[in-house]
Symmetry: C2
Subunit: 430 residues, 2 copies
């Protein structure tokens, strides 16, 4: 790229109309001049060829992505991520902020993904390693989206659950278990104090557990649990399926008695989530499979908070995400960034409930609550309820007992001395 053309992809942030641009925070590693590399990155994701041959025109002023901040330093040890075909030469590591004109594609999630995580991002000359760390949307762009229909407030209203976390439980076992005993497990969890008994994200409309029958049985037992406990309950049905089946599945399970639906966001696509949001009459929950392959490598791919923001934008009322603990391979700061992406102000887009999950039980809730510093979260054990040695009712009771201890300021271990279910949970899972 000619030096004058490099300059054309740089801009002073204050000179741009902030409502016309998304902001992208990226890191990258490159060979060659880092300033030219940043310009290439901006060019490739927007006006890669900015004029016709032989015509005096220039689409860059209005349509080019622009570098508004760039900070680079040499990387003496070379590229930091193993890849085939890394180019040779001195390597620089850079942080860059791009302003990307969203009028190029509009408030459409697949076109947004194509622009900011597509060929222009990952095939810029000299930049084999690049990571999208964050994305920020101006109000003018957010106005094109519906966002969550119920949000945290709507979910709390439905559950009559205020000033505390929402207690989910993933019914286990699930793969292979027929609907009748599966529903009975859900009932036992509700009776013990679960707000929401949910399908595992891998449980589909399968031969051994047809979705319609599962929803019918769980719907009936949900209503029974509501009568017996006097508290509203939710059966959260996993309706993940081909995108042209989601609306049908929603109607089917809601008619049968499910009162919230879950889809796996990236497997159906965030656009599939948005389409479902437009038709859903119950809270919409998204789950996280198929994000880790893009997000776990240090310095490459996409930070998970970008996908959390997209799920919120698409209209998820609840976002289930990798939580704390070594099993989830997710640094604490990353979990917190994702929780923040659910709760922070986002123009007209309502907050959604963050549910950081992974190997949880009554033994972990105190730590999760302390790290998050809020009651606006969902807590989602699987084995911690359904693998409790005294059964699912006791498993759910152990969660509520742990929370009662936290709420009254008693150490959970002390409270366990007077509560057998909590005591058993701490012994089994602590």
């Amino acid at each position: 790229m000619h030096p004058a053309d490099v300059d054309a992809f740089f801009a002073v942030r204050g000179a741009l109309d902030p409502e016309a641009y998304l902001e992208l925070d990226l890191t990258f590693e490159c060979v060659g001049d880092p300033r030219a590399a940043a310009a290439h990155l901006a060019s490739e994701q927007s006006t890669a060829q900015w004029k016709r041959v032989g015509i005096d025109e220039d689409f860059r002023p209005r349509y080019a992505a622009k570098v508004v901040a760039l900070d680079c330093s040499p990387l003496p040890a070379g590229f930091s991520v193993p890849m085939a075909g890394l180019p040779a030469g001195p390597v620089h590591a850079c942080r860059v902020t791009l302003a990307h004109p969203h009028g190029n594609f509009g408030p459409r999630l697949p076109n947004l993904l194509s622009a900011v995580l597509g060929e222009g991002m990952f095939y810029a000359p000299g930049i084999p390693i690049v990571r999208l760390e964050d994305i920020r949307f101006p109000a003018s762009y957010l106005a094109g989206f519906e966002g969550p229909q119920f949000g945290i407030a709507g979910l709390r209203d439905r559950l009559h659950a205020f000033g505390r976390p929402i207690f989910f439980g993933v019914i286990k076992p699930n793969i292979g278990l027929p609907p009748e005993p599966f529903a009975e497990l859900g009932y036992q969890g509700w009776i013990g104090g679960l707000d929401i008994a949910k399908d595992d994200e891998m449980l589909a409309d399968a031969g051994y557990s047809p979705l319609a029958e599962r929803a019918r049985l769980l719907g009936a037992l949900r209503r029974r649990a509501e009568q017996e406990t006097g508290a509203p309950k939710i059966y959260l049905a996993n309706i993940t399926d081909e995108v042209d089946r989601l609306a049908h599945n929603h109607d089917l399970v809601v008619a049968a008695g499910a009162n919230a639906v879950m889809v796996n966001a990236m497997p159906v696509g965030v656009s599939g989530v948005r389409a479902l949001r437009r038709q859903a009459r119950v809270p919409l929950v998204t789950h996280f499979p198929f994000i880790a392959p893009m997000s776990r490598v240090a310095g490459y791919g996409v930070h998970t908070r970008v996908f959390t923001k997209l799920q919120r934008l698409a209209g998820a009322d609840v976002v289930i995400m990798p939580g704390f603990g070594p099993r989830m391979f997710t640094p604490e700061a990353e979990v917190l960034a994702n929780v923040q992406a659910c709760l922070e102000p986002m123009g007209p887009i309502a907050p959604c409930l963050p549910v950081p999950g992974g190997s949880d039980s009554a033994a972990t809730i105190e730590g999760v609550h302390r790290r998050l510093g809020t009651v606006d979260f969902g807590f989602v054990p699987g084995r911690g309820v359904f693998g409790h040695p005294l059964g699912p009712t006791a498993g759910a009771m152990s969660l509520r007992q742990a929370w009662d201890a936290i709420a009254e300021g008693t150490p959970v271990a002390d409270y366990a001395k007077r509560h057998a279910e909590l005591d058993a949970a701490l012994r089994a899972f602590g």
Copy 2:
């Protein structure tokens, strides 16, 4: 995991019904006993909890994924990919083949992705680094899919193009260019010999280029080019949009004169591709943005051929993929594996046309053809046609001249001495 439970996740391949299982080839790096790690991987993506508490039952024989091949060796230097929170301990690198029972989820792409690329794959204890290298489907699973509607044979019939590559051109510039001059460029390309003039994958239904107007103008000029050249031509419209707009966009552009449609496969989701396939009346082309973040790191994520197979399964007639050359950061063997994934036998699923692209021109076609060893491919320059110094008609002519040279066995450089357009292309791009 107890040693007896580890054993329960191993099986002899010949003892399993091959029609009941998908096969997954994986590599992973782990701490702890590699055999137990492989069992965890199988368990987490299927029957993670295989019985109820207090009940004598076992879902593993029928529903568990099983290890059918495992080969591990110590990795003295430790984990090979930089990540936060890598567990401590001696590291092994393994190759494993899993047999995964597809009855767990059925012929549904989002559920397939959730099972084989979800939480069970990327959150197995002790296995932070894992890559899905390949996937194989039995006939019983393929029977649940439609596959390509036209395929290579149908596309050749429509274009009257036999025994040679299909010549695509990406109209450039596109971001910012209004429909009238954009359509004129496409016309110039067709006149010069392009079979297919196409929208860039980043060109959406945008204010500066409304999809309906673009399709109307290109449809009219396509018909004019067909009359003037006597050869069928295709305008390939990028209809990438929210998934619940794809059928509408298809109908809109086809009515206006487009005779093939393109979507960005991962941004709309492979399930969105499949839904569109069910409604499409013209060839369906998929493009590759949003795959690189999952596929480029050595040893982690997913090999691109898995996504090529899924696009074919979803019904893409043409798959545009990263091609040869340093700019695409794709090893030659990976390009060839993706081409093979389009062309190899796949039960009742028709072959689709592979289009390996990236910085192509008349100067690269000889090398692409030699490496592929077949004429069943699409060739897709952008700048190589629309940045040709003598204009798009000469750019397209230069491609056909280069192919004529190859077809008659003349070195392209020699042929260029008698063909000014080819000569100019070799000077500009060679």
